[in-house]
């Protein structure tokens, strides 16, 4: 059996996807299926005075129209699932359809159900709503001020929570040799997976069973929450995530829409489909980021960093989405010191409600923001003391022999060799040579820049005990069932819910490696609550470290039992057996062996099993990791800023990531590529913009600049592999590293390029206009 761990196997999910035979939610057609569409508020803040649905009801083909009032009391409100502790958190009710008041452009008001998707849109336009407009508030700092419009009762000054971790007294900063203070705005981003959200529900009135297919990253969480919202026991509610066209965090949340589809399907006793259009996605699917970070970094003239203090004012939008409170707090705050030895740190987070689309996890969720500020701050610090940005990193990075490392906010970094990743990345460029070229180019009026990002992030969410301690209303273990069929073929049922990350392949590689069974004989089953034991889904780069580890442990259990049967069959003791090349081999007796396949058949026939061993060959694991895992690496960006236009041209991009042992380098590299592009998207182009009335004015692909192929050079990627001691595979996670690392690498490079203009910092996205203005300002002042 060749070693399949570490092999770039072609993906097993691809055949259906490249031949048009995937099964995405909107592809599902059921007999008698109706279409649902939701009327959404055009106002950011208004009272609903009157809704007239009579004209919509008259449209031939319309089956039903519901308003918020029609549903009031008949279904639950949409809950938040992350109640950050000791933060005085307020959870104002979020009705599936607004009852009296709308709080953001996109808030659902009424819904229409009709025989086809054209009719449903026609009817939607005939609903007449009279609003009494209320003053809206869009910006989180404005929203906190006295006298600002109030969104919800019982949430004074719109402050949903106030959370703190760590403490650094003022005198530490007062006495410090160097203090850098800087405000960063993490702009609002729109996740925009290419598949928008969708849901289909089917109800069987005789059995009371309901199936909901939806675009979910975590169908069991959807079942958990929807069961409560709809009042359907979990025994009768099946949630299926079929092929899901990307998520990036925005398909974690449970939204009103999935609940509404379920409600309507049960009420009308016909299958119902709802598919979000792209414009709807822009205003109703959760956004990411939107945090104002006020950062203070103290240190010595020799480059030693001593203390970090941050205030994060986070815009949560109009309601608290499923995981929203955890993003700016736990996922941002605790990792804020990054990979550097900073002995003291404190983070304060104020979560604020505004008349905007709710925010929640977006690829990286908290960690890109944390990495951005520390990577920018360390460059600013280096600049202040006249040190090379590379030197200050070398000086402060945690050394290999210092792991496990307890950071100032209580996290224990599992393992790492940060300098090795940095050195490997440096081998891929020529730093000294670059600085010379940069110098020469500047003389000719060309502006080259280099930016570093030596990041660490938290992955593999996470120990359930910790989840409880930080207020997540769920566990964060993962389930795996490894079922060896009598023929020796294997079905693996995982509670993780991959949607593009390739685990149908990489998980099969884990099983193949463990059990010596060819990958072709292994099927990975995911995304169906009726087939799979409780699990928690795919987000936070947890799928491989937690879900994969659960599979590895279940495989070990299968093997343990198989060994007993093999020993019995070969009439030797278990300790005499080695498992190699898919067979149990008696040590020292070549040829005396029994294959895994033969053992499997014996397990099922059960004619002659050892005493106390039950028939069949199947094992389960509910793996709860002992700690998070901490991938790290170094990204380096080299770019040129056009002195005339301010346009940023990427010239070279090097990424060295350490996700622990790499199971499938091709798939891992793909994750890095995609992540880098998403992170650079934030650095250079993307940004959701509201006008002062709460209208989203970057609400289409015409206005919201999505990264395109021609914007990029080919990236050069490599891995170092430092195993984690936390889990049996030693793996860490690779789904978010690119996004986390690339944003500050690019911004650092742009700022480096603009050094001749006296530019210290620029707010993202670094559009040509913004860069050009900064250069003009520099030229004027020079």
């Amino acid at each position: 059996m060749p070693n399949v761990f570490g092999t770039p196997l072609k993906r097993r999910e691809d055949p259906r996807l490249i031949t048009g035979k995937g099964n995405f939610t909107d592809d599902i057609q059921l007999p008698g299926m109706l279409y649902m569409a939701v009327l959404r508020s055009p106002h950011a803040h208004a009272r609903i005075k009157r809704i007239d649905v009579s004209a919509a009801r008259q449209v031939p083909g319309v089956v039903a129209v519901y308003t918020g009032k029609d549903l009031e009391g008949k279904m639950g409100t949409i809950p938040t699932a992350w109640l950050v502790p000791d933060s005085d958190i307020k959870t104002p009710p979020h009705h599936a359809l607004a009852v009296d008041q709308v709080r953001y452009v996109g808030d659902g008001i009424a819904l229409v159900v009709a025989e086809d998707r054209y009719t449903v849109r026609d009817a939607l336009e005939l609903i007449d709503v009279e609003y009494e407009e209320l003053p809206p508030v869009v910006n989180q700092e404005e929203a906190m001020k006295d006298g600002a419009p109030q969104l919800h009762e019982g949430v004074p000054n719109n402050i949903a929570f106030h959370w703190k971790a760590g403490e650094v007294p003022d005198e530490v900063f007062d006495r410090a040799e160097v203090v850098i203070r800087r405000r960063f705005y993490q702009q609002r981003l729109i996740p925009n997976p290419m598949e928008t959200r969708a849901a289909v529900a089917q109800y069987n009135p005789s059995s009371g069973e309901m199936t909901i297919w939806c675009t979910s990253q975590n169908p069991h969480i959807h079942r958990f929450i929807l069961s409560g919202v709809l009042g359907i026991p979990e025994t009768k509610l099946q949630v299926v995530a079929p092929d899901v066209g990307g998520g990036f965090g925005c398909k974690i949340a449970v939204y009103p829409d999935e609940a509404l589809v379920g409600y309507v399907a049960r009420d009308l006793r016909r299958p119902v489909k709802w598919t979000e259009d792209r414009r709807e996605h822009f205003t109703t699917t959760t956004h990411g980021r939107d945090m104002i970070l006020d950062v203070e970094l103290a240190g010595k003239r020799d480059g030693t960093l001593t203390a970090l203090r941050i205030k994060n004012t986070a815009n949560l939008g109009a309601y608290l989405s499923t995981a929203a409170p955890g993003v700016p707090t736990i996922l941002f705050g605790l990792i804020a010191p990054g990979p550097y030895k900073i002995p003291k740190a404190a983070v304060e987070v104020i979560g604020v409600l505004t008349n905007t689309t709710p925010t929640d996890a977006y690829r990286g969720a908290g960690r890109p923001e944390a990495t951005y500020q520390i990577e920018r701050m360390i460059d600013l610090f280096a600049d202040e003391i006249g040190m090379d940005p590379l030197e200050i990193r070398r000086k402060n990075l945690i050394r290999e022999d210092e792991f496990p490392f307890d950071n100032a906010l209580g996290l224990q970094y599992d393992s790492g060799n940060y300098h090795r990743a940095l050195n490997k990345a440096l081998e891929m460029i020529n730093y000294d040579q670059f600085r010379k070229e940069q110098e020469e180019a500047r003389k000719k009026g060309r502006y080259l820049g280099i930016g570093f990002s030596t990041y660490v992030e938290i992955c593999g969410l996470g120990p359930s005990k910790v989840a409880g301690a930080v207020g997540f209303q769920g566990g964060l273990w993962e389930s795996a069932t490894v079922r060896v069929h009598p023929s020796g073929k294997i079905s693996v049922f995982t509670g993780a819910s991959p949607h593009g990350q390739g685990e149908e392949t990489t998980f099969a590689q884990i099983v193949s490696q463990k059990l010596g069974v060819p990958v072709e004989d292994i099927e990975i089953v995911h995304g169906d609550t009726n087939r799979i034991s409780m699990g928690w889904g795919t987000y936070g780069s947890r799928t491989t470290p937690v879900g994969g580890s659960a599979i590895a442990i279940a495989c070990d259990r299968v093997l343990e039992k198989a060994k007993k049967i093999a020993a019995h069959a070969l009439e030797v003791s278990e300790s005499d057996l080695d498992f190699e090349d898919g067979a149990f081999q008696v040590q020292g007796v070549p040829g005396k062996k029994i294959t895994f396949q033969e053992v499997t058949l014996q397990a099922y026939l059960a004619w002659n099993l050892p005493e106390g061993v039950e028939p069949s060959l199947e094992a389960q694991s509910f793996y709860d990791p002992a700690n998070f895992v901490y991938p790290f690496g170094t990204h380096i960006c080299i770019l040129e800023v056009d002195g005339e236009t301010g346009e940023v041209k990427l010239k070279k991009y090097v990424a060295v990531d350490d996700p622990g042992p790499v199971i499938n380098p091709m798939v891992a590299e793909g994750q890095v590529h995609g992540g880098i592009v998403q992170g650079i998207g934030q650095a250079l182009w993307e940004g959701a913009v509201y006008d002062e009335n709460g209208q989203l004015i970057s609400g289409t692909f015409m206005d919201y600049a999505m990264p395109k192929a021609r914007f990029f050079p080919a990236f050069e990627t490599a891995f170092t592999e430092t195993p984690s001691p936390v889990n049996p595979l030693g793996v860490k996670g690779i789904g978010e590293t690119g996004t986390i690392a690339s944003t500050p690498a690019v911004v650092n490079a742009v700022v480096d390029a603009l050094k001749p203009f006296g530019v210290k910092d620029l707010d993202m996205p670094l559009t040509p206009e913004k860069v050009w203005k900064a250069m003009q300002k520099g030229r004027r002042e020079a």
């Binding site: 055009p42 106002h43 414009r279 009335n693 209208q695």
Partner: protein
């Protein structure tokens, strides 16, 4: 969104004023006007057909003329509602004497919602200018036709 439009008229302020306040003239001159009825002093209910790039639709709403200071200035507020969203506008219109007659200066603030905001907003400014210019040109034509030189 703020819009400023200037339009020269080759006649006196008094004449321009008269035409701008004339319901019949307004009905004929407002681009896409399907209906204009005075419901009370200075308040009109109106129906306008709008065509903003990808967004087309009928808007129904109210137009109000107030703060009339003949022949210098007045205020025009409007609110309209249509399938693509809602529009609210507040315009100060000033008539200034000029060499060739009169210059009209319109300073307007407009707010839009719905598709108009998310799709149309980028082009709304220039489209609003275009619509206003069309309107003033049409008024100018009315003046020319009714005042033989």
């Amino acid at each position: 969104m703020r819009i400023e439009v200037r339009h020269p008229f080759s006649t006196s302020r008094k004449v321009v004023w008269k035409f701008l306040q004339d319901e019949e003239v307004l009905r004929r001159s407002l681009p896409g006007c399907r209906k204009l009825e005075e419901v009370s002093e200075g308040v009109y209910s109106a129906e306008l057909g709008l065509n903003v790039g990808p967004v087309k639709g009928m808007f129904t709403g109210e137009v109000k003329l107030s703060e009339l200071r003949e022949p210098e200035s007045y205020r025009l507020t409007m609110s309209g509602k249509g399938k693509p969203g809602e529009i609210r506008g507040d315009a100060r219109i000033r008539l200034e004497e000029a060499e060739e007659g009169t210059v009209l200066i319109c300073n307007a603030e407009a707010h839009v919602t719905g598709v108009l905001a998310s799709v149309g907003q980028r082009v709304m400014g220039s489209v609003a200018k275009l619509i206003l210019s069309q309107f003033f040109k049409a008024v100018e034509k009315e003046i020319r036709h009714s005042t033989p030189k």
